[in-house]
Symmetry: C2
Subunit: 475 residues, 2 copies
Amino acid sequence: MALLSVTMLPPAFISLIYRDGGGVSFLMSFLFCLIAGLLFWYPNRAEKSDLRAREGFLIVVLFWSVLASFSAVPLLLLEQPNLSIADAFFESFSGLTTTGATILTQIDGLPHAVLWYRQQLQWLGGMGIIVLAVAILPILGIGGMQLYRAEIPGPVKDSKMTPRIADTAKHLWLIYVTLTFACAISYWAAGMSLFDAICHSFSTIAIGGFSTHDLSMGYFDSPLINFICVFFLLIAGVNFALHFAVLNSRSLRNYFYDAEFKAFLGIQFSLILVCFIVLASFNVYQSNFDNFEQALFHAVSIGTTAGFAGTSAGEVAFSSWPTLLPLLLIFASFIGGCAGSTGGGMKVIRVLLLYLQGVRELNKLVHPKAVFTIKLGNKALPNRVVEAIWGFFSAYAAVFVICMLLLLAAGMDDLAAFTAVAACLNNLGPGLGQVAANFAEINDFSKWVLVVAMLFGRLEIFTLLVLFTPAFWRT
Amino acid sequence: MALLSVTMLPPAFISLIYRDGGGVSFLMSFLFCLIAGLLFWYPNRAEKSDLRAREGFLIVVLFWSVLASFSAVPLLLLEQPNLSIADAFFESFSGLTTTGATILTQIDGLPHAVLWYRQQLQWLGGMGIIVLAVAILPILGIGGMQLYRAEIPGPVKDSKMTPRIADTAKHLWLIYVTLTFACAISYWAAGMSLFDAICHSFSTIAIGGFSTHDLSMGYFDSPLINFICVFFLLIAGVNFALHFAVLNSRSLRNYFYDAEFKAFLGIQFSLILVCFIVLASFNVYQSNFDNFEQALFHAVSIGTTAGFAGTSAGEVAFSSWPTLLPLLLIFASFIGGCAGSTGGGMKVIRVLLLYLQGVRELNKLVHPKAVFTIKLGNKALPNRVVEAIWGFFSAYAAVFVICMLLLLAAGMDDLAAFTAVAACLNNLGPGLGQVAANFAEINDFSKWVLVVAMLFGRLEIFTLLVLFTPAFWRT
Ligand SMILES: [K+]
Ligand SMILES: [K+]
């Protein structure tokens, strides 16, 4: 919490540089969070006990929800834009969960401090996610992620939980910061202003999707910038533990030993191909280069769950592409990035294992007495992991249906409700129909439902769901 | 096949009674099917070998698709209505799979022979389904249905496959015919003409949804008829093997020892309650009795996947109910009836086991080292069954998404595409939007996609899917 308060200082500083009057609210929030943080920390400073699984769930959920709530404070205190409580929480949760859905409409006119703050929220969210996904969820065993328990990077295997997580975090964050730096430099070199370059590098590496412009990446109207964005999105959509392993072994071949990595690239490539073929056959853009650029950009942007838009003013927006494509890409966002990346969705590895299990089912029907095992690389997969992934899949579907019914009950139309839930649960960002550009027009109840959906998505359903079981609270 | 040809005679006979000129095509089809049937049967008459699992799949798939294709012949030969090939196949598959979706628009004006034939298709389809679901799928082990292997009724356990299926069929069909008889008498006593009473008893017990009137059950404008329909739908939505067990033990208590039966009633009751509360609070119908009658009728009609409509002319149709309800009921149709009933959907038992497995996952997260088993009644459930159900669930989702994308690619709008696939895959019948009343307006390609969806739904996905695996065709 005290750490969070420090994160309020950069936007205040930015505000000073640009003299646009947003600084006071960030300074006030800094003080507020610092005091609240110290109040929380002071009575607990002596407790250095090691974590147990049950406390793990509680801490992860509290960490995200409390942090996101406090992050809403500066947005609430702002005079321009003047946000309601629901709006401020929506924007703050959307930032920290790297969803990238926004309730703001005229982004270009906002103070620089606010713009910076939104991007920074996503970047910090991304940092949280990779540690959560690489180190914490495997230990807790969420949705089959015990699979990765042995692969957590760092020298101290089998040590206690707390120091191990800290050690892993250090390694991953170094990669994360380096990538952000490389991305910012590339954007800058490609013609963005320094401010825009840094801001967009934050939301690119975090696969967040927030932008400092209403037109998102389309504002720059530059194929080069779009290609850079695609390149870094594909890197950020890969398991950071795999990046770490490649760095450690200094051999790029490790990428291609990884089944999830291959499936991830295969899925993105197929999406690009389908989009290009349809766009070209409908002649949606002026040249085939434009068709290719737009297909590439949006397939990867939606497929990795970033949610950037890449069409400049006057061009056909993604949400108006021939019927099939927008929904196809929204469906693809259910797959999302690799486990241990900053991407959302159900993760490539889970979908891959579901597919392999489906194939095994079919083989078993033909040869009822034979024994089939699912292999990943050259290790056989324990049944326990497969079971846990099935559980994850159906819980995902159940949360999806419930959220969608709530939105319908609140009066949203079918397409908007379906895609809004998909956009938030998959931490994607934009939907279709009423919520294609932003979420400003929906009512407060719907916003709260979607805030919960974002949190469910980011905490991989079970981390949050487990708190609602009686067994959890029994001592 | 020769048997099928005999089924062409009743409509020809009906045609004679009503002298409406539809008889010739049925007589011609009779001869055609008889000859084709004899041609198939004659060279194979000596083969009386017992079935193996692999041949089982092929025979089941061929049985349904060949039978439904031949059933399309009389519809093709008709002069009034004059149907295209796609239309005739759609109607015939919709009948035999008891889906009840229709491409016909002015049903009231059709010859009695055609009306009778459509209803009879559903009734025969229902007969096929209960044997398929109670005896054949458990032996083949489709989607966890090996669970019921020990419960197949009939005296000869562990005997060879063919005589055992024949024996089971005899028992179940007796119940089926008795129920149809009771239902027809009730309808007749409640004021239907004898022809309508018999026709609707066919489609009620088969949970089919075809009617002899454009307004479906709403034509009769009679709460009593609606209540009778609900009563028999609830009976037909229960596992016929359970009916058999109750009859055998002469104790109604057996129903309430059955977890699936209780869950089925619980789901239907909740649907009725939600519909009634929403209808009453929106004052959709004139009195609260009307609100209750409509809520009861449509909740059960859609929830059991019958798909009858029950609103008379001038009243608010089901598809125009406040937004939430139509989609809620469409979602409920994914659950559908009990296994071994004539209902469609994924079946109550599978959803129940998915739910229990979800609860187990959560408990395992809290107590990672404890061992939890799923109990059904007082038997522990083997892991193999749970795995197979997960496989079923994801294959269902995959088939759903692919069919929906195909319809979108063919130019259907989102709501229609979503509900059309749900209506056909769940063997429900009516969708929403463009396909709320009938499927006449959609293009031929979409009709073929939906025909395949109906077959996938009725054969519980895997029976059909397994034919597409290389392993199946390897000797
Ligand atoms: K995003
Ligand atoms: K039906």
